[in-house]
Every structure is written in structure tokens, then in C-alpha cells.
Subunit: 454 residues, 2 copies
């Protein structure tokens, strides 16, 4: 089969990790509008479906509880607020989807639903929300809590949060606004309703102060890798972002999530699975490999461990640096540690060697010529591991520029990328139906969970 697949672009609202900002071509002006405006235009010109910005609510305190390594090496800091960046881009782009990350841990559904509804209106239906539950103690502490709540509680809150948010988006019908200047009637009160959501973790009255978003609901993105995470994603997500060390684990994940979506009463086709790929492109394979080696040489092993500590909320410098990786039940992103452990075992790495490797690592390396990388991507799609890819930049804008120059034309030649946007909204470009009002009622809670409270 040669159906076109989807392309998303992943970049931080700040430096790209401890190594990416050091790349000779990396732009240093990541606090300025121009950095984002010019990168978004590059991606839109290449017809990417969406631009995705991750988030974190703290300067990571990854080694011995100190934020010093993060500041010194640029591990997860600084980082601008992603919705603000995307709102900036909404006025300067016209087709590319704009997906920000917002945690359900420390905000209220009314505020989050309102901001995404606003972005969806102002962008003409191009907003997406990557729903995360946060994973660092330092984030909880920035919001006045002593520590990260347990995973079960975080996911229970996330489910309620999504129920409340979707009901807020549904509080105005699609045709509630009349705007009849003659009679003085602005809206139809009978087409607007309260929500009165009372959960264990969140509550809101409604209605929302913003009419129903152009897309019905903004596109929901999720990246949960744990069983709870997969279940939330299967219930709610339109797009699932994931990361795998091998095509085999990607195929297993793909099949599992599509099966879970079916269990939640959803069409598995309505869930787009986009594994992360970090392409290192060269004029030929040798050139690409040389580029990749040059990049790896920029890594400091402690910076790499600091970055890993940030991702898994666990400080591996407490263990023997020259010993093997310990088996741990980490409180951070669980699936991620599993992958890292898998890699370390396979390559027989010490903790120090792992730091060296991890510092330069971006999800799903593909190193080679444009044709090599196109081959790799085709294989993943054709073997049922992907509906498209999240292209993770190692450095900005260089990684995207190389991909656009060398890989995009190759994929177009092979009929795997569309030449033009299919529509104006992100849902249209992803080939996803616009949810009717009350569509959330079709999203049954997973096994063992209580019925929706309203």
C-alpha cells in the first residue's frame, strides 16, 4: 500500500536538550518570536500536519535535587509557555496544526478548556492539546504541593479533567450565536447549557465563556506509555505520540492501542499513532553518519544523566557510574525507562556510558540519506507500526531544514506525502471527523472505572 502518512514536527519552546543548542547551526534566539515564526513557516511550506511543543512546569531538579545541572547544561530549561508560542504562530500561519502541551495536574478545566477553545477560534480550527499528567516533584512544588501525586491519582484526575473540558466545549451548540443586530439578539439561550460537573478531583459549573470550538473539540494528543496511559489515550486521543527503540515494540504498541480504542467503542482508524523519529540526514549514508558522530561528541555524560533524570524523575548518579543500570520502578515516564534499560542491556552499557549515549539521543534515530530515511519510514508504516511520524528535531531549525530538503521530496516521489493540505482545520488535515456535540458520551471509561458523573 502507498497511502500518504502524517507528519508532525516536535520542538521545544527553548533549547533542544543539553546537546541540541550546541550544534553549530542551532539558532540561539529561542526566546524571540522570530525563532518560532520562521520555523513554523518552514514547516508549513513543507505541508507538515502539525507543530508540537512539549512542556514542563519546573526547572528540572534532576541531580541531588539541584537545578544547577539543568541551568548549566540546558537540560529542560529555559522553556517558554507553549500556548503563548502557538497563539503567536496562529496569526502568522494559515494551515499547520498547533499542538501545545498542558498538564491536567495543576490547572483547572475551565481555564484550560477556555484557552484551547480560544486558540481553536483564532487559528480557524488548528488547535491541539497534548494532555499530560506531569511527572516531576519539582513541578508539584512550584504549585504548592509537597510532591508528585501517585500515578493512579494523576490519571484519575486526567480522566475527570477531560470529561469536564469536553462538556465545557459542548456547553454552546454549534449554532448558538445569532448576532442579529436588528432584534438585538446575540445568542440563543436555549442552545447554551451549564455543565455542573462534580468529580473527585475537579469541578466546574459552566457554561464556558467561549462558543464551541471550530473543530468541536481541539485535537487531543496523548503520549501515555504505561497501561493507564494507554487506556486514557485509547479513550480520548485523536493522535498518539510514542517512542520506541525497535519496530517490534512499535508494532506491539500500535496493535494494543488500536485494540483498546475499539474496546472504548471507538473506530481504531480515528486514532493516529505517530512514533517519534529523529532523522539525521546527509547527502549520503557516510555523510549522515559523520554528522551523527560529530553531534555525539558534543555530549557531557553528566549532562546526559541530568537529562535522563529529568525524563524519569530519578537520579542515576546515586548509583555506581561504572556499573550496570539498576532495575527501578521510576515515578516518571514509565515506558521511557523500560526503553532505556532495554537499550543499555542490549549494548552492555555502564551508567556513565548510558549518560554519554542519552545526552545525544533523540527519539527514534534514523541516520542516512534521504532515500534511507524514506525507506525506514515506509517500513514502519507498512508493517503496522505507525500512521505517520513525529519528527523530533535534534537542533532547530537545521534538523527540520535537512528533512524538508532531503526526505520530503523523496516521500512525495513515492506517493507517501500529500502535496497540499486537505482542508483548513487540523482535523481535516489528519482525516479525522469533527466530533458532534456530546460526542464525549461515546468515550466509555476503562475497566473498573466509575461511570461518568453527569
Amino acid at each position: 500500500m502507498t497511502a500518504p502518512f502524517h507528519l508532525a514536527a516536535f520542538m521545544n519552546a527553548g533549547p533542544m536538550g543539553t546537546v541540541g543548542w550546541r550544534h553549530p547551526e542551532a539558532r540561539p534566539d529561542f526566546l524571540d518570536a522570530a525563532y518560532y515564526l520562521e520555523t513554523a513557516r518552514l514547516l508549513e511550506d513543507a505541508r507538515f500536519d502539525l507543530l508540537f511543543i512539549p512542556d514542563s512546569l519546573a526547572v528540572p531538579r534532576s541531580l541531588q535535587g539541584s537545578f544547577e545541572p539543568a541551568v548549566r547544561f540546558g537540560a529542560g530549561t529555559p522553556r517558554l509557555e507553549p500556548l503563548t508560542v502557538l497563539a503567536l504562530l496562529a496569526g502568522a500561519t494559515s494551515r499547520i496544526g498547533l499542538v501545545a502541551t498542558t498538564s491536567t495536574g495543576y490547572a483547572a478545566p475551565y481555564a484550560v478548556a477556555r484557552t484551547y477553545a480560544t486558540l481553536d477560534h483564532l487559528s480557524g480550527g488548528r488547535a491541539g492539546w497534548n494532555v499530560v499528567t506531569s511527572f516531576q516533584d519539582a513541578e508539584a512544588q512550584n504549585f504548592g504541593f509537597p510532591a508528585l501525586p501517585p500515578r493512579e491519582e494523576r490519571y484519575a484526575r486526567a480522566e475527570e479533567f477531560l470529561e469536564a473540558a469536553t462538556q465545557l466545549w459542548d456547553s454552546w451548540s454549534d449554532d448558538a450565536l445569532v448576532l442579529d443586530k436588528e432584534s438585538g439578539q446575540l445568542g440563543r439561550p436555549e442552545e447554551v447549557r451549564a455543565v455542573d460537573y462534580r468529580g473527585e478531583h475537579v469541578a466546574t459549573q459552566g457554561p464556558l465563556g467561549v462558543p464551541r470550538p471550530p473543530q468541536g473539540y481541539p485535537v487531543i494528543v496523548q503520549a501515555g506509555a504505561s497501561p493507564q496511559g494507554r487506556d486514557v489515550a485509547a479513550r480520548w486521543a485523536d493522535v498518539i505520540f510514542c517512542s520506541h527503540e525497535s519496530i517490534e515494540s512499535a508494532i506491539e504498541f500500535y496493535a494494543d492501542v488500536k485494540r483498546r480504542a475499539l474496546e472504548h467503542g471507538r473506530d481504531p482508524e480515528a486514532v493516529r499513532i505517530l512514533p517519534a523519529v529523529s532523522p539525521v540526514v546527509g547527502t549520503d549514508r557516510a555523510d549522515a553518519q559523520a554528522r551523527h558522530r560529530a553531534f555525539e561528541q558534543l555530549v557531557d555524560p553528566v549532562a546526559g544523566l541530568s537529562r535522563l533524570a529529568y525524563h524519569i524523575n530519578t537520579d542515576l548518579t546515586r548509583y555506581d557510574l561504572d556499573g550496570p543500570l539498576p532495575e527501578l520502578d521510576v515515578s516518571g515516564v514509565q515506558g521511557h525507562y523500560r526503553e532505556v534499560l532495554e537499550h543499555a542491556r542490549r549494548e552492555n552499557l555502564t551508567v556513565r556510558e548510558l549518560g554519554q549515549w542519552y545526552g545525544a539521543r533523540t527519539e527514534g534515530y534514523l541516520v542516512g540519506s534521504g532515500s534511507d530515511i524514506a525507506d525506514g519510514m515506509e517500513e514502519w508504516v507498512d508493517r503496522g507500526a505507525a500512521d505517520g511520524f513525529m519528527i523530533v528535531a535534534a537542533h532547530v531549525p537545521g534538523s527540520f531544514a535537512e528533512f524538508v530538503e532531503h526526505v520530503v521530496p523523496e516521500l512525495r516521489r513515492r506517493g507517501r506525502l500529500r502535496e497540499e493540505y486537505r482542508g483548513t482545520t487540523l482535523r481535516e488535515n489528519l482525516g479525522l471527523a469533527r466530533p458532534a456535540r456530546d460526542e464525549w458520551r461515546n468515550r466509555a471509561r476503562g475497566r473498573g472505572a466509575a461511570e461518568s458523573p453527569s
Copy 2:
């Protein structure tokens, strides 16, 4: 004296009240980017210092607890999230200040400080924060609280919130970023510090994930009219937005706030007081009066009472519509009810008549030719009632367009408006110093309040 004064523009992120959206020239596309982009460009071309967007966190439930009149008449709804609108504008403008409204009641200092710091970076130092404490029960209920907290508690929280936010903005020194690609050092850890703020109402650990804003602190705007409100404003505000029914009450307010600023150890010149003015401009006075009468005829008295109920959190339809206004201690914006009462007494209005008047009212009408309005503005500045004005649009973009066409050139001829922006940041354009790190320590709490906890 003929020193230039300041101009700010006030518009909703939605329809302009129950009447403004019905104006024949009012644009109906207030959910679209173009509405904001084109209006902001008009204001920037005329060299306005800033664009100000108010906010509210609920569809007002102003009459008998129902949101129906608000939806029917367009009283305070719909309303987009203001920071998202201003971020959109940051990319499409280069000099005009961007002031959004955010309540301290239902958000966390970490989130708010981070978003305004982001907007300040992306706009090159043009962000401002209008600090409000919220005044409607419906807003509290949207965030899971049973009712609006008492005024004392709201202001105590606001003070803590501002202390925490300024300390977060100060958590990075101005030169903490190094970005040395050669050595791999991104930042100087010794120039970044935690905040560890523990108040009665808010707490945060820090440091902020965003480096110190270009303006040090975004411009702080306040509009408190009650004694507590004036005190918070005198301690924290760079710009004070107010509204008066007479020049005499404006002169009293101006003198009182400048005196309070001095008591807080601040230079009274460092506080800009901008009363609201809603100009109705015509080719001559008769034309302007005819325009104003036409506008008033669009009012439904119940819509007017619904709008008033939203502003003062009190439903006057519970009283005799044909009787006089009652004396009330309203829980909403206190100074506002005092003004309305003052007007009703002077004009001997019934509740119904007040509704008719209030529906068309915008703060500080000035009706006349360009020359008449310039005369009025000059008088206010020269008699010590104002450092400039907040131009409140009755309808958008017409009110601004008329003001720019007829009043701005007249004020320029008189030397009361500068021809060009003075600088690139909002502080520079307002003639306000950039706060050094830890400048917040100079902001002593008001009488009787405890010392700052850190």
C-alpha cells in the same frame, strides 16, 4: 503645561457589551484573528501606548442566577481568553503594548508569572498584566468553589500572588544565560535561585522556567477603586485604570493614589493614572450628539440591568423597577456602584431608567467634535485628574477609527501626543524605569499587613 500624555485602548475579546455589537459598523467577527490583528494595527499606526483587554471567568449569571440574559443580549459573553489574543498580536505588531487581564483568584503564581514572562519575551518587552481579584460568584463556581471569597481574602491573596510572581521573575538574573556553544555552558547556576515562597494563600518553589523578562517585570496594571484596591494599586501598579463620573472625583482619586504610592516608598511619577474615556466623535458637536442618541436607542432596559448586574454582582431587577436605586453594599466592584448611584441620584432615575442609561453607558463619555474632545482631555490632564486616558471603545473598530481620524491629529497639533514611539518596550513608551532585580523589596505592604514572608 503641554507635556504629551499617554493613550491606551480598551476593547473586549468579544462583543462590546449589549449595545456595542449592534452598532451598524460593529464587526461581527470577534472570534476571528483578523478582528484583533486589524484593530491592533490601526492602534499601532496611531501610536497608542497599549491595547488593554479585560476579562471575566464566567458567562455572567446576573439576573436571578441565570446566564440566559447574558447570552441573549451579549452581556459579557462570549469572551475569548485575553492572553491568547495578545500572543497572537505579539507576532503581528512591533511597538504597541499588550495588556491582558488575569485574576489572582483561581490561578497559581507559577503559571501566571510564566505566561506573562513568555509574552514579554516574545513581544520584545511589550507585555502588561492587569491584576484583578474577580468579583462574580459564577467565576468561583467555574473553578469548583461555592461562592466568591470575601473581599479581604481576595486582596490578601492578590498581595501574596504579586509577591510570589515578582520573585519568580527575579529568579534568573538579567545575565544568567551564557549560551557558550564551545564550552557547553548554557547558563550560570549561581545567577539562578529558588523562591521558596510560602504564603497563607499561595506557595511556590521556583526558580521560574523562563529567564527574567525583558522589562524586568511586565507592566503591572490595576483598577482597584475600593480602599483595599487603591492600596494594592499604589504598592504594585505601574498603570492605574479608573473610571469617574466627574472630574472632581477623578482629581480626588488621582491625588489619593499618588499619596498612597509615596507612602509605599514609591515615586508618585512612576504610577501612570489613566481614567476611562469613551469618546463619541462627530464632524461637529451636533453630529456627535446625533450619533450618541442613535446609539442609546439600541438599548433594552433589561439588557442594561443585566450588564450592570454583571459589573456589581447584584441583580437590581429584584427591586421595584419604577422606584429609586437602593443603597447597597455590593459584593462586586464597589467604586463602580458608588458612581452609578451618584449618577442616578443626580438625574433622579428609576431602576428601569437606570437600565436604559446603563446599557449604552461606557466609562467617561465625551461627546463632540475632535476639538471638543481634545479640550476635555486637556482639561483632565492639566487639572491633575489624569496622566493620559484609556480609550474605551463603544463599538469596534469604529470608535477607535473615529478617534484616530478626528482626535489624534488635534492632540498632535496641540503637542499632547508624541509623533513616534519613544522606545521598543512598553515601559520605555510609558516613560517608566525598568525594575532592577529584587525591586519588589521596595514595595512595602500597606498598613497593618504582615511583612513579606521571604
